[in-house]
Amino acid sequence: MDNLNNNLVSGKNILIVEDDIFINSLFAEKLFEKGATVFSAKKEDDVFKMLKTEKIDIISLDLLLPGTSGFEILKKIKADPSTKDIPVIILSNLGQKSDVDMGLKLGAKKFLIKALYSMDELIEQFSEVLK
């Protein structure tokens, strides 16, 4: 049974930018179970392709990505008027203070260390931002 208060992902379009296939599929499956529509990308080109063709409600962004970094992608998202208002949550397994500061400074709503959360807890965090 879902507490309506902490599952606001239902009906939303969520873009997951994640390098690890295993983690991506687990999280996507969970979000799907909770009623979200999930889009996945790990390369920069694919991220911006998705943002052009789909109406994304929230972006989950990893930092360590092939051929680029999450910070670069975040900068570009915020620089584009058509995407700058989409909330971004950084989901990384790095978490040095300088990275967190940078992420928040670049405009991420939250910086979460994946390993510290169960998937249900992550969905609560996402719901908080979607409120």
């Binding site: 295993f22 969970k30 092939p66 390993a115 169960s118």
Partner: protein, 228 residues
């Protein structure tokens, strides 16, 4: 102390790998437990508890280390030593990898070179560079040479491997960057190594130059000041 500084440099990469593996395991088991058909729920719950505990332990380890790779926090402990000896030792340490990747190694010393440097740090740097050469150019030749260039000793490592895309050259010593070629080739390695390598060399008053042709090979040149 010296040991802590060295651990800190590569802590970031290892922490990330550990956390990524544990996240995957944690979420996978959570998914299975939530499934109403789940048998052995108690056993799986116990496994999950141990994984969460492991994740917490990583956090504890980090608390007592310097989190940021910050050159102001890194101290160099220098001593005089012969670069020739260090390089031979590293090559010997990497012989298992060289065998696994079927590397044919050519090593040439154009002189005897004594430097005043942090031997452990330089060892880590050169190990990183040699390791890259072996890892990303399997079944081919790698040339390592040392020679005098003005008041510097130049270490040249040339491989015939996968190379680096010219568009990515600018970025390769940024903290997290891994070239697309390297990702396709060996997705498990993280990109923190080259950033740390560059910092350590520069702190010694040296420099590092990397040139590469995609799918043809890479040449890395490290220069370090000789003792006057």
């Amino acid at each position: 102390m010296k040991e802590d500084n060295i651990k800190n440099i590569f802590l970031t990469a290892n922490v990330h790998q550990l956390r990524t593996s544990l996240s995957g395991a944690r979420w996978a088991i959570e998914s299975v437990i939530k499934n109403s058909d789940c048998v052995n729920k108690d056993l799986l719950t116990e496994a999950l508890n141990k994984i969460v505990y492991s994740i917490e332990m990583i956090g504890e380890i980090l608390k007592f280390s310097e989190e940021d790779f910050n050159e102001d926090k890194i101290k160099l402990y220098k001593n005089k030593f012969y670069l020739n000896d260090l390089i031979k030792k590293i090559i010997s340490n990497l012989s298992f990898l060289a065998q696994e990747k079927e590397i044919s190694l050519d090593y040439e010393e154009k002189g005897l070179f004594e430097i005043n440097a942090d031997e452990k740090m330089i060892g880590i740097v050169l190990t990183n560079i040699f390791d890259n050469a072996f890892r990303y150019s399997p079944k081919s030749k790698v040339f390592i040479s040392i020679e005098k260039k003005d008041s510097f000793v130049k270490i040249i490592v040339k491989d015939n491997g996968i190379g680096i895309d010219p568009q990515e050259m600018e970025h390769i010593s940024q903290k997290f960057f891994r070239g697309k070629n390297a990702i396709d080739f060996d997705p498990k390695e993280s990109g923190v190594g080259l950033y740390a390598t560059k910092k350590i060399i520069e702190m010694h008053g040296g420099n590092i130059k990397i040139s590469s042709v995609l799918n043809k090979g890479t040449t890395v040149e490290v220069s370090l000041p000789l003792i006057h």
